[in-house]
């Protein structure tokens, strides 16, 4: 595919269809223009391609080139007169995305592995059923029926292990006789990825009642997960069933040069590509109006979670319900009473398209964002973990460290980069606000690069990475990512006012006291050697009190030295807390209200 000169990619979101045009310029792939239009999967259009064509027309106008033919179809390949494109790719999350129910035998083992497989394939999990989940059989049957998933994934039993429980799960699905959400007359796609010895029994029960696919066991033994075959089957069925039933998708499928990917699946691919190409650990988040997706790659292990009810508009009151008013108010750098916070968030819920006009209103919304990001990340940490139930030989050191199986893979000290996207981060009026929200919500440790996805291009770049990884990586680096700068954050706590660490960059030493933030300007694209010396009790990655020599990267904010301590603890006294928050706002060049 190295001959690609011009690439068009669209992402059909639930409300907006976004198109980008990428072209090879002087040996390098760059974003040329971007267009958007409302998504048209609902009445009166009922055809996703209408929105695609509208978004592409905007691209045509902005780029001054013809891409659509007289029938409104995308022209491929690129013509001699410069019209058309070499490849057209698309992702989609319209029509509610891919909604799945997963089932397993043991909730914390096979069911959790199945959950990881489905989430990694870009699905929204609407229920996790396990033989031991505490619900009665009829309750589970009722639930399957009510939810009408697009697809069910069955897992459980190590190869050669129990058959009985898998037969029970299959019987439960027969009892429910679920109809897929889209396309009522089609049989429901069911993927079986459990004990291979139970395949025949499962086939006998489910065979002619559903569209059954059998793939390799996703947990062949207790200490091994094999998620890829199940993920591939999910992707394939997503294309064959869900996409074919959604309005206009069969037409769209005939236009694309490579299969349509679900949006989160594509974002995940991009995050994995970046982690792999750079050999780094990455955390990425997409905070939307209704849901928050979190992606991570730690030591090559990819995980994705979706917090379906944490978001900044439709789901804003769910953030309020889960976090509580006190947790939201604690981030406000001024006095604000509980009733007004509650009522104003409710009003945002019922009028989700409104935006903050005043600085106070903006600060409240950003306070909510911190809690939504924090809660979604907590959720991610519980699912992105090593396998439970594994018997391991542990060293004395591990026993002393109280390391157990099933612990989270998320290691903030080992994390190299955080990428934020979604309106509240990408469109924050000032970039330092996005950095500040991520610092508070994620509390990165040691040295971590902060960045935002400027216009949420990661889905299109993710699908592009499957056909042309180099083009995807170049556009990601040059046009998608806005680097905010490295952050240096010592772990531990000490007496406020004493020097927590010194950071020497370009022969200039910056001493920062505990409880303070300091920004050292360093432009985008600049990297410097930094010598970081933490105080005796603090650690920046080399051990307590140990000096770290590393490279720091500049950005639109600069290098942020965050000596507020980890874990970050806000002062309990209200007045002191407000004073501190105001001080930190000032340090980042932000007004408090």
């Amino acid at each position: 595919m190295s001959e690609l000169r011009s690439i068009l990619a669209t992402d059909c979101g639930s409300t907006t269809t976004k198109a980008i045009l990428i072209e090879k310029q002087g040996g390098e792939y760059r974003l040329v223009v971007r267009g958007e239009a409302p998504t048209t999967v609902e009445a009166p259009f009922d055809d996703v391609t209408v929105g695609v064509v509208n978004a592409v027309r905007e691209v045509e106008e902005l780029a001054g080139k013809k891409i659509l033919d007289s029938d409104g179809k995308i022209m491929t390949p690129l013509r001699a007169d410069g019209s058309g494109v070499d490849a057209y790719l698309s992702t989609s999350s319209a029509g509610g995305g891919l909604q799945m129910t997963v089932a397993g035998v043991v909730k914390t083992m096979s069911a959790e592995s199945a959950e990881r497989a489905a989430l990694g394939a870009g699905a929204i999990i609407i229920d996790v059923i396990a033989v031991d989940d505490g619900r009665k059989d009829f309750e589970k049957v009722k639930r399957i029926r009510e939810l009408r998933p697009d697809m069910i994934l069955i897992s459980g039993g190590t190869d050669g292990g129990t058959v009985k429980h898998l037969v029970e799960i299959a019987e439960m699905i027969v009892s429910a006789d679920p109809k897929p959400r889209l396309g009522g007359n089609m049989p429901l796609p069911v993927i079986y990825a459990g004990n291979k010895d139970a395949r025949d029994a499962v086939r006998e029960i489910l065979g002619d009642r559903v569209d059954l696919r059998i793939v390799d066991n996703l947990r062949p033994s207790l200490d091994r997960e094999n998620l890829d075959p199940a993920r591939e089957a999910i992707h394939e069925l997503f294309l064959q069933h869900v996409m074919q039933q959604a309005p206009g998708y069969s037409k769209l499928s005939s236009w694309v040069s490579s299969g349509i990917m679900s949006t989160p699946n594509a974002v995940g691919k991009m995050v994995q590509t970046v982690a792999q190409e750079k050999g780094i650990n990455v955390l990425a988040v997409d905070i939307g109006g209704a849901t928050t997706d979190v992606f991570s790659v730690f030591n090559g292990v990819y995980n994705r979670t979706v917090s379906a009810n944490l978001g900044m508009s439709y789901s804003i009151c769910n953030v309020l319900a889960e976090a509580g008013t006190a947790n939201i108010r604690r981030w406000a750098p001024f006095e604000v009473d509980e009733a007004s916070v509650r009522n104003s968030l409710r009003n945002k819920m019922v009028r989700p398209t409104t935006i903050p006009q005043t600085m106070r209103d903006l600060r409240i919304e950003q306070a909510v964002a911190r809690e939504a990001l924090r809660l979604a990340f907590e959720h991610h940490k519980t699912l992105a973990r090593s396998l439970k139930g594994v018997q391991t030989v542990r060293t004395i050191g591990e026993i002393l460290d109280q390391k157990e199986t099933g612990e989270t893979l998320v290691d903030m000290m080992a994390l190299d980069m955080i990428v934020g996207s979604g309106g509240v981060l990408s469109h924050a009026p000032r970039r330092a606000e996005a950095a500040y929200m991520m610092l508070d919500a994620y509390q990165p440790e040691g040295v971590t690069l902060l960045a935002v996805d400027s216009i949420f291009m990661m889905p299109q770049l993710g699908v592009l990475s499957t056909v042309h990884p180099q083009a995807a990586a170049q556009v990601f680096e040059r046009d998608c990512l806005i680097k905010l700068g490295s952050t240096v954050a010592p772990v531990g706590r000490m007496k406020p006012g004493e020097v927590a660490c010194t950071v020497t960059i370009d022969n200039e030493t910056h001493a920062v006291r505990f409880g303070e933030i300091k920004v050292v300007p360093l432009a985008v694209g600049e990297t410097r050697e930094a010598i970081i010396k933490p105080a005796g009790r603090l650690d920046v990655g080399a051990g307590r009190g140990r000096e770290l020599k590393t490279r720091v990267e500049g950005g639109v904010v600069g290098v942020i030295i965050d000596c507020r301590g980890r874990p970050l603890v806000l002062p309990e006294d209200n007045q002191t807390r407000i004073e501190k928050l105001r001080e930190w706002h000032t340090a980042l060049g932000l007004a408090s209200e």
Binding site: T16, A37, P38, M172, S175, N343, V350, M359, R430
Partner: protein, 373 residues
């Protein structure tokens, strides 16, 4: 994008209203096109198949699955009563009898040789759909439901809880800024839909529920009072299924917000009429707003003024729906095309509006709704 504002909610003294009444599963339509129906007329019915309850026969009898199957006294397709013997075994020279009885009445649908389980399907549950509004059957959706049409007044709210109900409209509120208190609620409001002004106290809402009022329509409510009334918090705005005795509809929002005068005047003019109300709200994916529908006997000679549609233009009457001017009414005086930096620092498209007191303000276009009729 062109739609940088929130379309207004309908407040109409007279309009044609069509309601689709659909079964959850295919079934039988019980009315014909042209039939006159009242809100409680059943227009379609069906039966939802019961769920299967698994009886773990092998475990109960302490047998291997194959042995349990041979001990069965029932076959696939048999109807069984609650307590009926499903299987039995005899041991110790036939002296000790172990029985497995059906815990429910239903039909034997599954017998598993692998697990030794028997699945019994519960009887079907009948489901009926009513017309919800007084009107005429305008269309039939084969085996699924009907479309009922009526002419009447329609008031859409911004948020509601509780499902479909009918009652007589009463307006104990003196004006659009009256807060309904317990004193306003009388025992003869049983079965009524009570209209207030600015809001309602928690005590009054509970009293309305206890005397059997069908619904309450007010401008706003304090968030904590709503939670106290429901007994639980609401995370996502998908409502209508709450198990509450009285449906609540808010026309403006949360906190203390005066009901729009036009809405109050229209509801006041409908006092004594039978209304159908529904609190169901869904903000996401196909917006559903709560509503008050008052069917009127005949189409008045003067038809309702045609709506100006969703177009925001100089002269449009608007309501501001976000701080710092939340709830204020005004008229659009300017629509500058270029994005402008607002106080928060965001650069967005704005409008200028003259408020009722003559003040001219600048607000993001996203923060206004058009008042339409």
């Amino acid at each position: 994008m062109g739609t940088a504002y929130t379309p207004g909610l309908t407040v109409s003294p007279g309009t044609t209203i069509r309601k689709t009444r659909r079964l959850p599963l295919k079934g039988q339509v019980t009315v014909n096109i042209g039939d006159h129906v009242t809100a409680d007329t059943v227009v379609a019915r069906t039966e939802i198949p019961g769920v299967i309850q698994t009886v773990r026969v092998a475990e109960i009898l302490g047998l291997e699955p194959a042995e349990a199957i041979s001990a069965l006294k029932v076959q696939q397709g048999d109807k069984v009563e609650s307590g009926q013997l499903l299987a039995e075994t005899r041991s110790f020279f036939g002296l000790i009898r172990t029985e497995c009885k059906s815990p429910i009445a239903g039909t034997v649908e599954l017998i598993s040789n692998t697990t030794g389980h028997v699945g019994i399907r519960l009887p079907s549950t009948p489901v009926e759909v009513t017309a919800y509004i007084d009107g005429t059957v305008a269309d039939i959706i084969s085996e699924e439901g009907v479309v009922v049409e009526t002419y009447g007044a329609l008031v859409q709210g911004i948020f509601g809880v509780g499902g479909e109900r009918t009652g007589t409209l009463v307006v104990p509120a003196e004006s659009a800024d009256t807060q309904i208190t317990e004193e306003h609620i009388k025992n003869d409001h049983a079965g009524a839909v009570i209209v207030g002004g600015t809001g309602i106290t928690l005590g009054a809402l509970r009293k309305a529920a206890s005397i059997g009022a069908q619904g309450v329509v007010v401008g706003a409510i304090t968030d904590t009072d709503l939670i106290a009334y429901l007994g639980h918090d609401i995370g996502v705005a998908i409502t209508g299924q709450e198990d509450i005795p009285t449906t609540l509809i808010l026309t403006e929002g949360f906190g203390s917000i005066r009901m729009a005068q036009r809405t109050f005047d229209l509801l006041k003019s409908l006092e004594g009429r039978k209304v159908s109300i529904n609190g169901a709200t869904q903000i996401r994916a196909g917006v559903i707003r709560p509503e008050v529908i008052a069917p009127l006997e005949k189409i008045p000679d003067t038809a309702a003024k045609p709506s100006k549609g969703q177009l925001l233009e100089v002269g449009s009457n608007i309501r501001i729906i976000r701080e710092p001017y939340f709830g204020m009414l005004g008229t659009v005086t300017k629509l500058p095309p270029e994005p402008v930096e607002i106080e928060s620092g965001a650069v967005v498209r704005i409008l200028e509006a003259e408020l009722l007191d003559g003040t001219v303000v600048r607000v993001p276009r996203a923060n206004v709704e058009i008042i339409e009729g």
